[in-house]
């Protein structure tokens, strides 16, 4: 499979002091949806804008479809569709007018009416951009990057701040683009977005890739795929249950406690749970709540960094 994006040793320093990206290597293959997952300030936008040719790297190399910025800019611009983290399109233009404007920049644009249908904005064709809802605006932003009929689509946090329904609509648009043979590079700090949408994910933190693989591979790397979470009825009486004791419960791989919430990474819940209940009963500890779920990329991030993706 041929490579759409290749970065090597990417480094970006702002104003001679902030190191936003520090030595980042990346390959995105044609036809895949690749996600950069990381918390605020990890360097996602910086990385993607360097690849888009909007920022220059302090050091390192970027190739997009084997072409380079500074040499093949005109050709590259025709091939890429770009959605910035935040763009406010002209509020006084209509949806149709905005798409026709963007289409006019390309040698071989897509039909604006067709793109409008794909992002389900046909009903809003004659509405002013200023009157659109957040979700509609975001779909229009994506439409503006699709109207150039790109081979590679960049989406910087496409669903941040959107309601669940709008997020799903956007995911559908991305999937449709991929089915038609497009390549996608997106950034997100939602682990569910990365898991559901991306073929491969690079987790970045402090300007470096700390893990790379398919969502499955990354979750597998935890060694166990289930998480058992519980809180105690009387946490004050048992300030710390002692990781060692809990870790002895069958198939429990690791124990984490945070603000009274215990999270066990568990290989086989059907064996671990009865043992866990026995263990607690033996010590006279009562539970307030218990739940089990599948492990997510969030757990991978926490395991690697000890922090959460979103610091709420």
């Amino acid at each position: 499979m041929s490579v759409a994006v290749r970065c090597a040793g990417l480094h970006k320093r702002y104003d001679n002091k902030v190191d936003a990206v520090r030595g980042l290597d990346l390959e995105v293959e044609q036809g895949e949806c690749f996600g950069l997952l990381g918390p605020n300030g990890a360097g996602k936008t910086t990385t993607i804008e360097i690849i888009e040719g909007l920022l220059s790297a302090t050091a390192g190399e970027v190739e997009v479809f084997g072409k380079r910025w500074g040499r093949d800019d005109d050709e590259l611009r025709e091939l890429l569709g770009i959605c910035l983290q935040e763009t406010r399109l002209s509020e006084k233009l209509k949806v149709r007018e905005t798409l026709e404007l963007f289409a006019s920049f390309y040698r071989r644009p897509a039909d604006p009416a067709r793109v409008m249908r794909e992002v389900e904005l046909t009903e809003k064709a004659e509405a002013w951009v200023g009157k659109l809802s957040g979700g509609q605006r975001q779909r229009l932003a994506v439409a503006c990057s699709l109207v150039g009929d790109p081979r590679l689509l960049f989406l910087d946090e496409p669903t941040t701040g959107l309601d669940p329904q709008s997020r799903r609509q956007l995911w559908d648009i991305v999937r449709k683009f991929k089915r038609q043979g497009g390549t996608v590079l997106l950034t997100t700090h939602y682990m569910d977005e990365a898991e559901r949408l991306c073929d491969r994910v690079a987790i970045i933190d402090h300007g470096r890739i700390i893990a790379l693989g398919t969502p499955r591979e990354l979750i597998h790397s935890l060694g166990a795929e289930h998480i058992v979470e519980f809180t105690l009825a009387d946490p004050a009486a048992f300030p710390d249950l002692g990781g060692d004791g809990l870790a002895a419960v069958p198939t429990v791989l690791s124990v984490r406690q945070e603000d009274g919430l215990y999270a066990l990474t568990v290989g086989e819940p059907h064996r671990a749970l009865p043992a866990l209940f026995d263990w607690l009963e033996g010590r006279g500890i009562e539970l307030a709540r218990l739940s089990t779920r599948h492990a997510s990329l969030e757990d991978v991030f926490v395991k690697l960094t000890g922090r959460h993706l979103r610091d709420e």
Partner: protein
């Protein structure tokens, strides 16, 4: 080389935005017309107001009042001594006459109305007392078209409008697009930057045409202004002004990252010219030492050229120096802006 499809879409988009922006419609079209009408009415040429003169109580006072009232615009009245002094101090009367063996006049040499009253009152009193003028006079009162305040004002307002139009239409608009990351978004497409700038400038020139015609029509229809120059020359001068300020606006916008910055810069550029460049009153009123500086300001050159063409019907060749000043400002700003301009952040 221009990509005409992109250029026409950009121009169309810009025109749509402007026409859908109520503020633009107000500032570009209504404001100058309102200003012209308001100032035109406030400063319309009318017979001089009456000039009040106080005559202090005296046996001869009635005769003096009669003699003064026969010389318009003087309006005399008999008042007590103290009252007269007070009214003079408050500026309600321009002159106080004290009849007597020796007449005495109280006047203020710094007040034009006081000086006028003094000379008219003295002449009237001397004549009434039997003075014969040694030189025979034939008076000829003429009102020249084009010499009224409104005639002076309309070209000045046009110049003002072209300046603020260029600064807002380029300077403010571009920074606004930068703040909204729209510039960055456009640069991320194959759009050519030259097409974009050309479209922006074209939309300025279209607005310029509308502004020129609108103000001239207002002058012509409401104030019966006589337009001496050809419409062609007026438009050439206006276009030169418009382009010059578009260049300056572009330069101001080249680095500003915030709306506050561009607003400050625009005020810094426009305010001195607003005062110095002869919009509401002639720039000649400033001291001679300042004149060389004032003359090379783009708005002074534009206003002078507009007045010369509109009011005197002067030829374009006669405006060569002023057009050169405008072109130089525009070209230097534009070239500098091309080097400094930040498209991405």
């Amino acid at each position: 080389m221009i990509n005409w499809r992109a250029y026409s879409q950009l121009l169309l988009a810009r025109s749509r935005e402007l026409s859908r922006e109520p503020e633009v419609v107000f500032w570009v079209f209504f404001f100058p017309v309102l200003l012209a009408v308001a100032l035109g009415i406030a400063f319309r040429n009318k017979p001089p107001d009456k000039v009040d003169v106080a005559v202090v109580e005296h046996p001869n006072a009635a005769r003096v009042v009669r003699a003064l009232n026969a010389a318009p615009p003087l309006a005399a009245e008999v008042i007590g001594t103290e009252d007269a002094a007070r009214q003079f101090r408050l500026g309600k009367v321009a002159l106080v006459v004290y009849p007597g063996q020796v007449y005495s006049y109280r006047y203020d040499p710094n007040r034009p109305d006081s000086m006028l009253a003094l000379s008219l009152a003295d002449a009237a009193l001397q004549k009434a007392a039997g003075r014969a003028d040694p030189i025979r006079i034939h008076e000829q009162a003429v009102t020249e078209p084009g010499a009224r305040y409104i005639d002076f004002l309309i070209p000045g307002l046009l110049g003002l409008n072209l300046m603020s139009g260029g600064m807002w239409g380029m300077g403010f608009a571009l920074v606004d697009m930068r703040v909204k990351k729209l510039l960055k978004r456009l640069v991320a497409t194959p759009m050519r930057r030259s097409d974009f700038l050309l479209a922006l400038v074209s939309s300025r020139l279209i607005l310029m045409l509308v502004e020129v015609i609108l103000l001239l029509l207002v002058g012509r229809l409401i104030f019966k202004m006589v337009i001496q120059g050809s419409l062609g020359s007026i438009i050439v001068v206006s276009a030169a002004g418009s382009l010059s300020f578009a260049g300056i606006g572009l330069l101001c916008a080249s680095r500003a990252q915030k709306i506050e910055t561009i607003s400050g810069l625009m005020n810094l550029v426009m305010l001195p010219m607003f005062v110095l460049s002869g919009i509401f009153f002639s720039a000649d009123r400033f001291p001679a030492a300042m004149q060389p500086f004032i003359r090379i300001l783009p708005l002074t050159a534009l206003n002078d050229a507009l007045r010369s063409v509109i009011l005197e019907g002067a030829s374009l060749e006669a405006q060569a120096l002023r057009l050169l000043i405008l072109t130089t400002w525009g070209a230097v700003s534009f070239l500098l802006a091309l080097r400094l301009f930040r498209w991405v952040n």
